[in-house]
């Protein structure tokens, strides 16, 4: 039995731990913090929205991400909500909707009536939208806790507040420590988010509000909580949310529905997404033999299943072709 040490208990670490344990490896997960969830993963939106993301991402995000919802549903039945994504814009930004639909795919335009049927609370507020029926969402914290519970039941060992662990006791080290990992190609993309609580709004699915300057999304969570996110700032600074960002997020939430103006701000959070120059994740083999999974950018829950499978293929089948997807994409672009 292969003994594998996974460093980092964020979404990348836990998904690869699951993939390896399911294929029969003996897995230990070491986490520097006292809990699972990592940093960026704990603050994630949890949208499994490959087609919406295509608006500003490479095609690889769709090819690698479109089976993600099935992976999560198969792994943790009942924790994935398959209700699609609704994209709306105010009348004066209507051209943004056409642009968004043209850049993405696998979606349909919805009129006032269809929009009201999907999200009754947004009726009379928006006249048109774009609906991505094939997308899904999950609650990152519930899902990661459930995944950790399942891993324990599968015999995976967790070491918290772990210091440096001698790799000698293991056949393979897999590093999933995100921004904590020193990698020259990685850069940080700061993201700020908040969680609102109000009984006056109900949403069945993530709603994206297009705006030329401040596009936001609102993801419904249990008990009338709403995750509002997220800024994208080229910075690895993880200090507190700025007044400007908070104002922009709140403004946009208020523009989506005025009742958010009366909501309680339950939490604000700042995380740093690790990203490679093309904003696509990589499974790499380091000089010391360790495998790294990193650069999940804003697609942690969407792309970590595909990365976990690539890493497991690499481990169990040494002829697996690393980065083939990324390479294909680069070739397409430079063609």
């Amino acid at each position: 039995m292969r003994r594998v040490l996974v460093k980092g208990a964020g979404v990348a670490g836990l998904t690869v731990a699951h993939e390896l344990a399911a294929r029969g490896a003996s897995v230990t997960v070491a986490e520097i913090r006292g809990r699972i969830g990592g940093k960026a993963s704990w603050l994630a939106g949890g949208m499994l929205a490959p087609w919406c993301e295509r608006e500003s991402a490479e095609e690889a995000v769709v090819t690698l991400g479109k089976t993600s919802a099935e992976w999560w549903e198969r792994t943790l039945p009942g924790l994935v909500t398959k209700a699609g994504t609704l994209v709306v814009a105010h009348a004066r930004d209507a051209s943004e909707l056409a642009r968004f639909a043209a850049r993405t795919g696998n979606c349909e335009s919805v009129d006032e009536e269809a929009l009201a049927a999907l999200e009754p609370d947004l009726a009379d507020r928006f006249r048109e939208g774009v609906f991505f029926a094939g997308e899904a969402h999950l609650d990152p914290r519930r899902v990661l806790e459930a995944l950790a519970g399942k891993l324990r039941a599968m015999g995976v060992i967790f070491l918290f507040e772990a210091g440096e662990i001698a790799p000698s006791g293991f056949d393979q080290v897999i590093d999933c420590t995100g921004m904590a990992r020193a990698d020259d190609d990685l850069r940080g993309m700061r993201g700020e988010m908040l969680i609102l609580h109000t009984r006056e709004v109900s949403l069945a699915r993530p709603v994206r509000l297009l705006h030329p300057r401040h596009p936001i999304y609102v993801v419904p969570r249990a008990d009338h909580h709403f995750m509002v996110g997220a800024t994208m700032i080229e910075s690895d600074h993880d200090g507190p949310i700025t007044a400007r960002s908070l104002m922009e997020l709140l403004n946009a939430a208020y523009a989506l529905h005025p009742a958010f103006g009366e909501a309680e701000i339950v939490e604000t959070g700042v995380g740093v997404r690790p990203a490679y120059p093309d904003n696509l994740p990589r499974v790499k083999r380091r000089k010391d033999g360790a495998i790294t999974i990193n650069g999940l950018y804003r697609h942690g829950f969407l792309l970590s299943p595909a990365m976990a499978e690539q890493a497991a293929d690499l481990l169990f089948n040494s002829s697996a072709d690393l980065e083939s997807e990324n390479e294909a994409d680069r070739q397409r672009r430079s063609a």
Binding site: E58, P212, I233, E234, S235, H237, P277, R333
Partner: protein
Amino acid sequence: MFELFGTKLASRLLLGTAQYPSPAVLAEAVKASGTSVVTASLRREMAGGRGGEKFWSLVNSLGVRILPNTAGCHSVREAVTTAKMAREVFGTPWIKLEVIGNHDTLQPDVFGLVEAARILCEDGFDVFPYTTDDLVVAERLLGAGCKVLMPWCAPIGSALGPVNIMALRSMRGHFPDVPLIIDAGLGRPSHAATVMELGFDAVLLNTAVAKAADPVGMARAFSKAVDAGREAYGSGLLEPRDVAVPSTPTIGRAVFS
């Protein structure tokens, strides 16, 4: 060749660095555009004055000149402070000065702009003021020490193209020797060609390229349009006439009827 503050530039297209799908796409777009100057928005990228170095080292590695800007500044003080920070961070006296007067239309606050321009010019900056097409404001900016003007042709990011050709023509006519760079509002290559045909010295683009489905292809298209417009301007454009003029004279042709 085109010269700004003593620096010879091979391209008359300046490119913004915001909103690209990734730094890799930005790098390819910069290469495809052939640009010699990219703008850098200090404000948002350096939260708390820290971080963002990785992104700028990627931009630096492209080998083009960086023109920092004061995007998002709404007051003279904010703009001046940001300009000074930018001079430290990027090590250049160049500054694209934006003082925004309206949050919604991103219209410049021309009064604050003139004031900030005077402060920065006196402090030794090479100021590129983002202004409207108003001639009086332009004169005040030159009076404040500016050597270059960057008028909009439509609001930032609107992609409307030149909405007031007459104002742009008169601006070119009034300031024949001042480098004029169209800063905002261009949506398509034909817009860029149009303003270059009017005799503007260069254009600055961001959204039209960054938000295109294929930013690299669009950067290339704009680069060709800028070259075409410039060459057309230099080649003497035909003025429009009210009547048809045959390209081959009719007199002297054989008459068979």
